[in-house]
């Protein structure tokens, strides 16, 4: 459909993370997925205090440690070295997922392979016959966290839409996503459909709609 270089249009990865970070309110308990989502932590506006949860058993995850100061047994869900802030708490896996399933975490930001216009999310498996299925905590997070944000490039490497009418990949959860941050736009999933909330600089509504399988509603136009 389109060329690979198109993915570079609009916001960069950092800018996508930064844009998403604007929507994390002061005092929120937040779980960030691997990849672009975890970059959001760096961009939370000054004056907001946010507590990060990592599902392998820590509330109060801090930034990565300085090189040489890594502690092997202090890692995040992506198995990377992290730190713990003052006021942190460690707990076991059942308690950690009680926080998730019990709707105690306010926001989770995840990556996506596909998001549907009804907020269905596919981000764990292509369903390919020879794939090794691996789900981790993704299904628990989308089933339990109060608000699910997705950060994703607007299209695949091959230019195919990732925001679709109906996911062709196996679902992670049905009707779970409330907001999508892409390199091109910020889109809300609403009962009326996908509402375009914001465009990246220099990107037009039509440009986004052409690269989106599901219809977009222009804000203020519905």
């Amino acid at each position: 459909m389109n060329t690979k270089t198109e993915a570079l249009k609009g916001w960069t990865r950092e800018q996508m993370a930064q844009r998403a970070a604007l929507d994390i309110p002061d005092g929120a308990y937040v779980n960030l997925g691997i990849g672009i989502p975890e970059m959001a932590a760096q961009f939370v506006p000054a004056g907001r205090e946010v507590i990060y949860h990592t599902e392998n058993g820590l509330l109060g995850m801090g930034p990565p440690p300085a090189v040489g100061e890594e502690i092997t047994e202090l890692i995040n869900a992506g198995k990377k070295s992290i730190t713990a802030i003052p006021g942190a708490a460690y707990f076991h896996h059942a308690d950690s997922f009680a926080m998730i399933r019990g709707q105690h975490i306010d926001i989770c930001i995840l990556g996506a392979m596909q998001v549907s216009c009804e907020g269905d999310l596919a981000n764990w498996s292509t369903g390919a016959a020879d794939a090794i299925p691996a789900v981790g905590g993704a299904m628990d997070l989308v089933a339990g966290v109060k608000t699910i944000f997705v950060i994703t490039q607007h299209t695949t490497k091959h230019g195919d839409p990732k925001i679709v009418k109906s996911c062709s990949y196996p679902l992670t959860g049905k009707g779970v996503v409330s907001r999508i941050f892409t390199n091109l736009a910020v889109i809300d999933v609403t009962p009326e459909g996908l509402v375009l909330k914001e465009l990246a600089p220099g990107i037009s509504f039509d440009y986004v709609q052409e690269r989106t399988e599901a219809p977009l509603i222009l804000k203020g136009n519905k």
């Binding site: 507590i51 006021g87 707990f91 009680a98 926080m99 709707q103 105690h104």
Partner: protein, 236 residues
Amino acid sequence: MIDKRIESVAAAVADIKDGATIMIGGFGEAGSPIELIHALIDQGAKNLTVINNNTGSGHVGLAALIENEQVSKMICSFPRTANSTVFPDLYRRGKIELELVPQGTLAERIRAGGAGIPAFYTPTSVNTPLAEGKESRIFGDRTYVMEYGLTADFALIKAEQADRYGNLIYNKTARNFGPIMCMAANSTIVQAGKIVEVGAIDPETVITPGIFVNRITTVSDPALESKLVKEGRSYP
């Protein structure tokens, strides 16, 4: 900034409405948030459903809340104890409803509520009157009953120390229902003996992570229920 501190027990319970479901921590006197309960008596909310292991002693704390006719239903495992006369009197007069739940089932139902588990199966109470009317099911060679998760609008909890994030540690067997009630309530209100600086509680020893706590108020020298009962005190 996250700061869950509230200036007084009165302010902490101010928005509890008539008809609310309230989990109250404590097993007998240990862990009973007596100042928060007394603040709730002053506040006056009526028609409450209260979840606690017992029904209080004498005429203070939970017993006083019941005596003040603010509680329309108790969910508990053991409604009579030494010096407990208020609940039995009202119950015999048909003035208060009782849902009797085995203690371990009560604890597990509260944990389930907090953990997003709507129902689970347990062997406890099978073949007894307390299983009557409940769904039962065989797993392996044993029969189990289905029990539902319990949640609440509010939890009133007593802790030993807290920080402004809401991280808590408890004192000895006063821990009892506190950690699971903090998980299961929509708004968890804590009276802590002491509020310490963030970072003062070792992250390895936090018992209730702050995410489960909404409001903290300091009660540095809490009243002892047993002492008040012995002295024949009543509240208000």
